[in-house]
Amino acid sequence: MWEILSDNWLLLLVGQWPHGPVGGLVATVGLAIVSLLLAFPLGIMLALGRISAHKIFFWPATAVVYVVRGLPLIMFIFWVYFFLPLLIGNSVSGVVTMVAALALYEGAYLAEIIRSGIEALPRGQMEAGRSLGLSHMRTMRKIILPQALYNTIPSMLSQFISTVKETSLGYVISVHELTFAAAQINNMLLTKPFQVFALLALTYFTLNLILTGVVKLVEKHMGSGQAVTAA
Amino acid sequence: MIEFKNVSKWYGEYLALDNVNARVEKGEVLVVCGPSGSGKSTLIRTINRLEPIQKGQIIVDGVDVYQCGSIDEMRSHIGFVFQQFNLFPHMTVLENLMMAPVLLKRMSKHDAREHGMALLERVGMGHKADVYPTQLSGGQQQRVAIARALALKPRIMLFDEPTSALDPEMVNEVLMVMKSLAADGMTMVCVTHEMNFAREVADTVWFMDAGRIVETAPPKQFFETPQTDRAKKFLSDLRH
C-alpha cells in the first residue's frame, strides 16, 4: 500500500493537473468549500422562511427542506444534472452540477441548523429589538442572526465535514475528485483493489480526523457550554 | 445496629468525614443535622456504600459493609430514600415496588403485588398504584419512594434529606409516614432540616460540622441547651 501511495500521490492529491482538471484531494476540499460557501446564504434564507409567519415564505421553504431531507443525495444530483442545462440553456459540466447540488442540499441542512440556533435564543432578544423601534428584518439582521450564526459555528463546521464526505459522490458523475482519482488508480493497477481503496479510506479518515480536531478546538475556544440533553 | 469505627473519607484532597466514631442502636430514630458541607449526606451514603470510605469500618448488623461478600445482598436489607425520590419513570407506581422483591427472588409476583398494595395503602397511595411517577406530585412520589424502600422488609431505613426537594405544603404528608414508621419501631437514620420532626420523633440528634460529629444529644436537650458554639450558631441561624 505504501508503494501505491508513493507512486500515485500526485494523482491522489491534485488529479491530472496540470494535464487535466484539478482533481484529487485538492478538488475534494475545494468542492466542499465552494459548495458550503454557496450553501450558507441559501441556508439563511431557507431558515428565515421556515420561521416566517407569512405562509408565502413558510410553505416553499418547508417544502424544499422536506424534499431535500427525504431524497438521497445521489438522486438529487441526478435531478440537478438533468435540470440545470435546461435552466441555463447550455450543457453543464459535472463539477458545476456537483457544486450546485451540494449547495442546495447542504443549504437545506444548514437551514435547519440555523433555524434551531435562532429558536434557541431567548425571545427577549427579538422583543428588545422591536421595542427599540427596529423592524423585524432589521432586528433579524443586526441582533438575532449574528448571535444565532455564532452559536451554531460548531454545528456548521460539522456540516463541512459532511460535505467533504459527500463530494465522493462526484465519482458517479465523473467529477475529478479524490474517489474518482482512486478509481482511476485501481483501473491502472487492476490487481490491488483492496490496497487502493483502503488507501482511499485512510486518506478520508485522516483528513476528516484533522477537520474534527479543528472543530473541537474552535468549540473550546468559543467556550461552548451549551449542554444539549438527548430529547 | 450501625457502628462507625474511625471512619474517614476524602474526596481527592478534601476531607469529607473526619475520624467518625458512633453507634446507632436497634429501633433508634436518629436525626443527623448540620450546616451544608458538614458531611451529613456523605455519612449516610457511606452506610450502604453509595460512597466509599478510605479509612475505618462501618458495621451494620454485625457485618462489615466494606468486607461483606455481596454488597447487593447487604443493600437489600437497608432501605434508602433519596432527596430526589429517584422513582423509575418507565414503570407504574406498583411496578416500582414490585420490581426488586420479584427480581431478587424474595417473593412471587403475586405476593409482591399484595405486599406492594398493602405498603401503598399504608403510605396513602393505594389509589395511585397504576399511575406513572411523573403524573404524581413531589410529596406523592416521595411517599411511593418510601414504600418502595420498605418493599424488601429492610431492618434499617436511611433518609437523605427526604423533604428538602418538596414544596412546603407537601412536607407534612411525608413526615407523617416517617413518624408512623418510627412508631412501629423501625431503626431510622434521617438527614434532615425538619427540626420539629426531630423534636417529636427522634431519640437522638447528631450535629455535624466539617466532617465530625460535634454534638450528640437527645432532641430536647440539643434544641434547648446546645453545648457547643457551632451548634448554638446553627440553631440560631435556623430560627431566622
Binding site: P72, L73, F82, I161, A198, L200 | N48, D72, F88
Partner: protein, 234 residues
C-alpha cells in the same frame, strides 16, 4: 424548455416491474442493514459501558473510521477491495445472493452501527445517576440495574436519533447503484437510458423515496410520542 411529458411511456416494456424490483431491493437492503446496524450498535454501546480500556479504544477506532470515511468509499472498499480477497467458498455464497447486494448492505450496516452506538451511548449517559443509585440501593446488581432500569429508559430516549439514523440508512441504499446494484435509483437510471423520459422516471422515483421517507418520519414521531413521559418531576 423543449420537453414533452409522457408518463405513459413508463408503462411499457416491463418498466413497472423494474421499478417494483428496484423498490423491493431497496427495502430489503434497508431491512438487513438496519438489523445489522441495530444489533451491532447495541452490542457496542453496552460493551462500552463495561469501561475496559482496551475495548473502549478498539470501539472508538471502529466508530471513528466508519464515521469519517464517506459511505460510498465504504461500499467501494467492501465490493472491490474485500470482494477481491475473499476466500473462494465465501465468494460462491456471496455471488449466489449477489455480490453487489451483500457487500453494500454490509457496508451500510456497519457504518450505521457506528452512529447507533454513539446515539445509544449518549442516551445511556443522559439518564440521571440517581436512577442507578436507587436501583443499586434496592440491592440489584449492576447488570440487573442496566437491564431493568437504565437500558429501557435509554432506548425510549434514543427513538428520535434512531429514527433519523433509519432515515439516513434508507437513503444511503441508493449509493449501491454506483457498483451496479439495481435498487430504486439504479432502476430509475436504467429506465432513463432506455426511454429518455428523464423527468417522468425521476419523478416516480422521487415520489417513492419521499413517500417512504415521510412514512419513516411519521412512524418515528408516533413511537416517540407513545413511549414519552415527562422525565422531570414537578
Amino acid at each position: 424548455m423543449k420537453y414533452t411529458f409522457d408518463f405513459g411511456a413508463l408503462l411499457g416494456q416491463g418498466y413497472p416491474a423494474l421499478i417494483w424490483g428496484g423498490l423491493m431491493t431497496t427495502l430489503e437492503m434497508t431491512l438487513f442493514a438496519w438489523l445489522l446496524a441495530f444489533v451491532l450498535g447495541s452490542v457496542l454501546a453496552v460493551l462500552r459501558m463495561l469501561n475496559i480500556r482496551a475495548l473502549n479504544y478498539v470501539i472508538a477506532v471502529y466508530v471513528a473510521f466508519h464515521r469519517n470515511v464517506p459511505m460510498l468509499v465504504h461500499i467501494l472498499l467492501w465490493y472491490f477491495g474485500v470482494g477481491a480477497i475473499m476466500p473462494l467458498f465465501i465468494e460462491d455464497v456471496v455471488n449466489q445472493i449477489g455480490g453487489e447486494f451483500v457487500y453494500s448492505t454490509i457496508a451500510i450496516g456497519l457504518v450505521t452501527a457506528a452512529y447507533v452506538s454513539e446515539d445509544l451511548r449518549s442516551a445511556i449517559r443522559s439518564i440521571p445517576r440517581g436512577q442507578m443509585e436507587a436501583s443499586r440501593s434496592l440491592g440489584l446488581s449492576y447488570l440487573q440495574s442496566m437491564r431493568k432500569v437504565i437500558l429501557p429508559q435509554a432506548f425510549k430516549i434514543s427513538i428520535p436519533p434512531l429514527t433519523n439514523q433509519t432515515l439516513l440508512l434508507f437513503k444511503n441504499t441508493s449509493l449501491a447503484m454506483a457498483i451496479g446494484l439495481i435498487e430504486l435509483t439504479g432502476a430509475g437510471r436504467e429506465i432513463e437510458s432506455a426511454t429518455f423520459k428523464t423527468f417522468e422516471i425521476y419523478t416516480v422515483v422521487t415520489v417513492l423515496y419521499l413517500a417512504i421517507s415521510l412514512l419513516l418520519m411519521f412512524v418515528g414521531a408516533y413511537l416517540s410520542k407513545r413511549v414519552a413521559y415527562v422525565t422531570k418531576t414537578r
